[in-house]
């Protein structure tokens, strides 16, 4: 959407693919991956498509840098001239309100970064793999208070894709299918005029996942306690806290303590962001978050493969609109 996207037409031409019977270029950011998978599943379900490749491909580091690139929007004049011009700053504004509402401190954000860095150390795809202690975290300089660099994802050049097809066809493939059991999207009231307009969003300490929680679990016919692990969108650290709480996976204001107690680690109650998250693996808009969920469900999680990996909740999106999926190992 910032001129950083490979179009369906272009990718099709580049792959030398046969005629497409379905294509969709979603002009979204990090709220899209779970939803793009959902749209693909709808196309398969209606018979419009047999197999849909859902991808994100961008030169996010050598090309347009989303962290600092401006874009034309009706609300830009209320932000840019005063020096409020970048995503890290916008989400820091929500992060601060989350801290005010829940009493979470800087250490609470640090817990997210530290827990995910542990997973990243054994993920060869991760770009940030150095061990991280709370002391290291608190010593790091602010990028935009309350965020230090450890609270922010890394811009990377990369690509990532998942294949969506019918369950019948999937069962003929080499790997156990990850079945889409539930899906939800929401653009709640107050979502504003563009992806950085949150003037009318009532509570900056909760994001879209709070709004589609009930629809998600209803569509999956499951409860939050039914999932074995979670892959929560994390362009910035507090988004993990909002996502865990939003889907009801932990209680309101409890996410940082839950992480500090080790519950999102490999042996915890709810292993979360088992690839190290976008914080460590880099920013492919969370398509890599969906891919990690699929790999784990299939049992292809490498050194980070979880023991219990039958059911997973996945989210996409940090602020107003967003989406989520529940995946289940076939025949689990």
């Amino acid at each position: 959407m910032f001129g950083d996207s490979a179009t369906a037409q272009g990718v099709s031409a580049g792959l030398g693919s046969p005629e497409l019977s379905f294509a969709a270029d979603l002009s979204f950011g990090g709220q899209a991956p779970c939803y793009a998978v959902t749209v693909a599943a709808m196309a398969v379900e209606t018979g419009m498509a047999k197999n849909v490749l859902v991808y994100r491909a961008l030169n996010g580091r050598s090309g347009i840098r989303i962290g600092s690139t401006g874009f034309r929007s009706p609300t830009a004049p209320f932000r840019y001239p005063i020096g409020f011009s970048a995503y890290p700053q916008y989400i820091a504004m929500w992060g601060r309100r989350y801290m005010i509402e829940t009493g979470t401190g800087y250490e609470g954000l640090g817990q997210v970064a530290i827990a995910q860095r542990k997973y990243a150390q054994t993920n060869p795809r991760a770009v940030r793999r150095n061990p991280l202690t709370m002391e290291d975290y608190l010593r790091a300089q602010f990028v935009v208070d309350p965020f230090r660099s450890h609270d922010c994802t890394s811009e990377v050049d990369g690509a990532c894709a998942v294949l969506v097809t019918s369950l019948d066809r999937a069962r003929d493939l080499q790997h156990t299918p990850a079945v889409i059991e539930g899906a939800a999207w929401s653009t709640p009231t107050g979502s504003g005029l563009d992806i950085a307009d949150f003037f009318n969003w009532e509570d900056w300490s909760v994001n879209s996942h709070t709004y589609h929680r009930d629809r998600l679990w209803q569509s999956a016919q499951m409860k939050p306690e039914d999932v074995d692990f979670a892959e929560i969108y994390d362009c910035f650290s507090p988004v993990v806290l909002m996502g865990l709480e939003g889907l009801g996976l932990v209680g309101r204001g409890e996410a940082a303590d839950f992480i500090a107690a080790g519950e999102t680690g490999p042996n915890g109650k709810l292993p979360t962001n088992t690839h190290g998250g976008l914080l460590c693996e880099g920013y492919l808009h969370g398509m890599n978050t969906v891919a990690e969920a699929v790999l784990q469900v299939q049992g292809r999680g490498g050194e980070n493969q979880l023991e219990k990996h039958d059911r997973c909740a996945v989210t996409s999106g940090a602020l107003m609109d967003g989406s989520a999926l529940v995946l289940q190992r076939d025949a689990a």
Partner: protein
């Protein structure tokens, strides 16, 4: 968007264009009022509620019937950030600076530059709007009330 040579140039071009208040038919009046040191906000004639930013329809009820009302400029800090890394090179000389999100007494939230001591910022602090100018453009700022 305009295509300009390499992607690097595109990024620079975007930054250059959008740091000035680039207003349109919906937002120009607000900046014109600010130029005359008046803080105004739109209020819906149909449902009576205030809203921000200015836009053709009331986001509460959808009516295309609103008018600007004068705002007192008094409010409380809802949230804030302190910017250390200048994502936009134009602000490199100004870091660190704080951006406040303030809940106005009239019921809307507004962003503005904090003109006080960084250490004095806290949630719910009472603040007062002020107008400051950069390159002749009137912009919204805040000071302690």
């Amino acid at each position: 968007m305009t295509e300009v040579g390499t992607v690097q140039e595109t990024t620079e071009q975007l930054q250059k264009v959008y740091v000035e208040p680039e207003t349109d038919l919906d937002t120009r009046w607000w900046f014109e009022a600010l130029e005359q040191d008046r803080l105004e906000i739109p209020r819906c004639n149909a449902c009576g509620r205030t809203f921000f930013p200015p836009q053709p329809d009331c986001p509460h009820c959808g009516a295309q019937d609103w008018r600007p009302i004068p705002a007192g400029g008094r409010g409380r800090i809802y949230s804030w950030v302190v910017c250390y890394l200048p994502f936009d090179p134009r602000f490199a000389e100004e870091v660190p600076y704080a951006i406040l999100a303030v809940e106005l007494e009239e019921g809307v939230r507004l962003f503005g530059r904090w003109k006080g001591d960084l250490d004095a910022i806290r949630a719910d602090l009472r603040v007062q709007a002020l107008v400051y100018r950069v390159d002749g453009h009137a912009l919204l700022g805040w000071e302690a009330a």
